[in-house]
Amino acid sequence: MSFQIPIGPQHPALKEPISLRMTVEGEVITDADIRLGYNHRGIEKLAEERNWIQNIYLMERICGICSHSHATCYVQAVERLMELVPPKRGLYIRYLVSELERVHSHLLWLGVAGHEAGFDSFFMYTWRDREIVMDLLEMVSGNRVHYAINTVGGVRRDLDEGQKAKILEGVAMLRKRSVYYFKIGASEPSFVARIAGVGLLTKEQAVALCAVGPTARASGWDRDVRKEDPYAVYDELEWEVATADTCDVLGRVVVRVKELLQSYNMIEQMVQGLPAGDITVKAPRKAKPGETVSRYEAPRGENIHYIKSNGTEKPERLKVRAPTLANYAATVVMLKNGFIADIPLIFAAIDPCICCAERSVTLVDGRSGEESIVRTSDLRRRALARPANALVKGKAVWPF
């Protein structure tokens, strides 16, 4: 007996509205259909009517968890258009906040993964540690979410010695706790049984469907924008791209854990090597006509902004593609042939930031309607057309 289960738009497993329509037989999913559009806010059209500075605050509100990534990606592009070079100290502070944001986002995700798997104790512990990061961010920028620390030409607030010492202290405590808890997570058999072998995405599928972020890196595809397009600071730090080769949710957990530990190192290097100087340069009101593409590695994957300017103080066209949208196609492939019990885990494993993925124009007056995306049959045809390679099932190597 096969019937359709709707997950969403309202469901306890989803933090934001999206509709997944699964066709199931017993407990096995035979088909999946994702529908978007519930969270549209018309940001791209709105951005054309605001000047360069106002747009920073608009960009931040695309998302709560990765707000700084959108603001930074935008500001990078605008600085390139205006041919500004922010001072080193400003850049260091900006990317320090980026790495702190990455830490907070990954800890949040680990808690959510634990909760979706039913492992509530893990959830409580990682979110308790996340409070340390939130306090650090509040100390640096004044807000726990939406840091508003970027401005065109640099950053708005400076760090003093006391704050630097507190950051180092916090990171040391976090590192100790993270290693301890992840050892527990790795050795808790019921948790590993839930996440191993679930949500398989081979490397060929990930490449064909243009997946991004930890989702792609867990399939062994080592693309990281911070290594490829190092914006200002990342080629001065010592760090490595985190990959795993198990192609499943366990691989994604391992990749994020590795990224956490790398981020702790990077934060320490940045705080200890913080150069002296100004934190900002003065930016003109208008930008020269031109166009630029800016890419940034958000916690969820590659964030890309394309800005075209026509010489005025407002952008001619601002295009944002947030990482979750790139992972939707891969999600549909992952869901097929899974169990119902795995739906929340598979969907959570791409770290969906649904409000990030929906910012193109539509000013929806009143209710939002139903949207459909790609049909699985099409993606399935494409994925199967490539020669089916053996699924890589390596043993996940925990980083300690």
Binding site: F3, I5, H11, P12, A13, E27, G114, H115, E116, A117, G118, F119, D120, S121, F122, M124, Y125, R128, E188, S190, F191, A193, R194, F339, I340, A341, D342, I343, P344
Partner: protein
């Protein structure tokens, strides 16, 4: 006079009021242990140490609006919560706490009452399935299917594990089994394997993590209880609390040597031993994550059932050795 005594027996002690009080107390204990293991506070403000929190929850639910879906089977839907509570309360009457007088078998302590208590503990699972079925909601149907699938897994190991000490004691009456082990405490060690199996199987029966699949909030919204609200939900939750008391009482009677010492001392032992078992159950709940339904069934049949059979074998050997 006898009628009044029976009514008091049924309603006050060890009847409904006592079960209500002790059931909510066990729920408080469980929630407090779970929270402290997670570095949280747990219930704190309602009453001293938050003791009245489950009571407050019960009364809050009783006061809420009761919504019955239109397509639901109204007769079953409305009657099942009360039926469930009745079943577990009857099972509670059979515990050997208040019928410790061996020489005086009454209608709550008779040869074969261990089988009756196990049977009465299986009924809530069927009631849950019927509740899910009569809700006619997609998520409830899946929850009901999962409940029955789990039943196929843990029931056999539970029965085997609980009946092994009975075989060693040579009696089917709970009071006599408890008395047997009180006289020879060393023989309790024979049943350690069965105790472990029984604790795990009881965790599955009570549908707590790692076996809370039928009630998996992040997957199927509310599972069996998706459509229940108000008084009926309150009664269902009370059913689970009382089932917790009965199951831990059963395990304490059979594996931990019962409740010796007459009326007052026996009651104190009852509280201590049941809280110990509830502590073990909470520990398991805090330290594991939810596993999938197919993993439950395969775990039960590949690990629990063989261990229970092994326990039975050990019991039979020891019995032969002793006689």
């Amino acid at each position: 006079m006898a009628l009044l005594r029976t009514l008091l027996y049924l309603l006050v002690y060890p009847g409904l009021i006592f079960l209500f009080v002790y059931g909510t107390f066990s729920e408080w204990f469980d929630r407090k242990v779970y929270a402290r293991l997670q570095n949280r506070m747990g219930p704190t403000h309602t009453g001293r140490f938050g003791l009245l929190q489950p009571v407050a929850d019960f009364f809050k639910l009783m006061a809420k609006e009761d919504v019955v879906p239109e397509a639901a089977d109204k007769g079953f839907f409305n009657a099942l919560p009360a039926f469930g509570l009745a079943v577990v309360s009857t099972a509670a009457l059979l515990l050997p706490v208040w019928n410790f007088n061996l020489a005086n078998p009454g209608w709550t302590s008779f040869s074969g009452d261990i089988i009756v208590i196990l049977y009465l503990l299986s009924l809530p699972t069927l009631i849950l399935f019927l509740a899910a079925w009569s809700s006619t909601n997609l998520f409830s149907t899946i929850g009901g299917a999962r409940v029955l699938t789990m039943l196929f897994g843990y029931e056999v190991p539970l029965f085997l594990a609980v009946l092994s000490p009975a075989i060693l004691a040579g009696s089917w009456r709970l009071a006599e089994i408890a008395a047997f082990y009180q006289a020879r405490p060393v023989l309790l060690l024979v049943n350690v394997l069965g105790f472990v199996v029984a604790v795990i199987a009881v965790q599955a029966k009570l549908e707590r993590t790692p076996f809370d699949i039928p009630d998996a909030e992040t997957e199927i919204v509310g599972g069996t209880f998706t459509e229940y609200s108000g008084k009926k939900l309150a009664l269902f939750r009370l059913t689970f609390d009382v089932e917790l008391v009965v199951a831990s009482g059963l395990l304490a009677a059979v594996f931990l040597g019962g409740f010796p010492g007459g009326a007052l001392l026996g009651f104190v032992f009852f509280v201590i031993k049941t809280l110990f078992i509830i502590f073990l159950l909470s520990l398991i709940r805090a330290l594991t994550s939810r596993i999938r339904i197919d993993q439950v069934v395969s775990f039960s049949w590949k690990i629990l059932a063989p261990l229970a059979v092994l326990q039975l074998l050990i019991t039979i050997l020891v019995k032969g050795f002793l006689s």
